[in-house]
Amino acid sequence: MTGQAILVAAVQVGVVVALAPVLAGVTRQTRARLEGRAGAGVWQPWRDLRKLVAKAPVRATGSGWLLRVAPVVLLSSSLLVAALLPLVGAVSLPLVPDDLFVVVSVLLVGTVAVALLGLDAGTAFGGMGSSRHMTIAALVEPTVLVAVYALSIPVGSSALSLIVQARLDSSAVIASPVSLLAVLALGIVVLAETGRLPVDNPSTHLELTMVHEAMLLEASARDLAWLELGSWVRLAALLGLVGNLVAPWGIDTRVSAAGLLLGVAALAGKLVVLGGLLGAAEVFLAKLRLFRVPELLAGSFVLAFLAVTASYLVG
């Protein structure tokens, strides 16, 4: 049991690391094509990473140990999340169940690491990004936990693999109002957490409108590579989770070679579809004003809250 769970976790980490840059590539490529550009191809993020790792980092005086540590912490926390979530197989480690509270808090470790990194060098932009980032992170928190609460009520547990398993067993649950509202709320939150439109524009070059990017301005070479890979892995893992909540089919519940292969293929398929959808949606979305973001998050909170209320009515 433990051995199988470790195998699944290792496969998940490997697959997500391999797929995360491709996911970023798919999103960018879809967007480029829809906007009438040729695009750099889906493999460009991988090429960027290779280039960044082979460069000598430039570090400004005044930036301290955090510039070295924070990227590693972000990447490790994202990898840990990828290992914990039920992405390829719905099997959890006996001592480290994929409890959603634990997953969320591990994500927060990465969030905090990046926010501190933004403050480290003592520049105006870094502080600005960090402040905005933490404000959004703080307001996202209630939605995440209440949505989880809504999903956990029918199962009686906050373990994600059990939630996904239950949805696989009785797929009628997926279309219920409770689950629709909760997944919608979670979707908005995932966009906010991973710095996508309409909360943050990942491809902006204007420092004053940046949130996530503003904190990375000081990072270069491998530091930047870890930060980029870390955010992509985080996006891939969270999108994979949403994908598995919406369409749990294909996930491996009894660990076997064929099952794992099918799980990997299903995950890759879901990620490509979701990445394409995300890219397509971003063509039509404009970035919200920063002070409109709380409205969006309050809206998603209400959806999550209604999901809980609805679960009392239906249940």
Binding site: A172, S176, P177, E295, A298, G299, V302, L306, A310, L313
Partner: protein, 218 residues
């Protein structure tokens, strides 16, 4: 219809009703509000149809057709026609949207609490969804209280009416056809009057901001 399919369909329709209610509170664009209103009307019609099929009542099916026609098509079109092309969104609602959304969440809880005696231990999924209809009524009131624009208020009024109609259909399997017809005509009349009224207002003040109307005159 199998019991669980019936429950699912009622749940889905109720979910759409509630969701559109919340979205109406959330969105400030009038055009979007009108579209949401039409979706809400369709969901209400679907709910009536589902109840009608379950109870095998042809009358209810006719009412469902009427509801869809009136609430999903005629009323939204009527309201939509008077939305001025330049009125993109209401810039400063009385209640700021974040507070309104939180209020919406609280109202849903209130609806859930106060409808306990009605729901009781009834096994009928339609009756169990009464809190949703009640919440819709309260959300309609919230819109009426919280918006400045005359048309946004009209939308609130229609949401309120949808909520009341939903309560009626869920608890008693609907009112007799005649009563329903009368009530619907009433609403239609109100909408027409308000439309004329808002047109007059625009001529008089050049805007539809109800804050202009704070004085009583002889």
């Amino acid at each position: 219809m199998a019991a669980n399919v019936y429950a699912q369909l009622v749940g889905l329709a109720a979910g759409v009703l509630l969701l559109t209610g919340v979205l109406l509170v959330w969105r400030r664009s009038l055009a979007a509000s009108v579209r949401l209103l039409s979706v809400q009307g369709a969901a209400l019609g679907a709910l009536v149809a589902v109840i009608g099929v379950q109870h095998r009542e042809a009358g209810l099916l006719a009412v469902a057709g009427l509801v869809v026609l009136l609430k999903a098509a005629v009323l939204p079109v009527l309201v939509g026609r008077s939305v001025p092309a330049d009125a993109g969104r209401e810039e400063s609602p009385r209640l700021n949207p974040t507070a309104a959304l939180i209020a919406a969440a609280v109202l849903t809880v209130v609806a859930y609490l106060v409808s306990r005696p009605i729901v009781g231990s009834s096994p009928d999924p339609a009756v169990r969804a009464v809190p949703v209809a009640l919440a819709l009524t309260l959300l309609g009131f919230l819109l009426l209280v919280g918006r400045r624009h005359a048309l946004a208020q009209l939308v609130g009024f229609l949401v309120l009416d949808n909520g009341i109609a939903a309560v009626a259909f869920m608890t008693a399997g609907g009112l007799p056809l005649v009563v329903e017809l009368g009530a619907s005509l009433d609403v239609l009349l109100v909408v027409l009057i308000l439309q004329v009224f808002s047109a007059r207002m625009r001529v008089k003040f050049g805007a539809l901001d109800l804050d202009e109307l704070t004085e009583l005159r002889d």
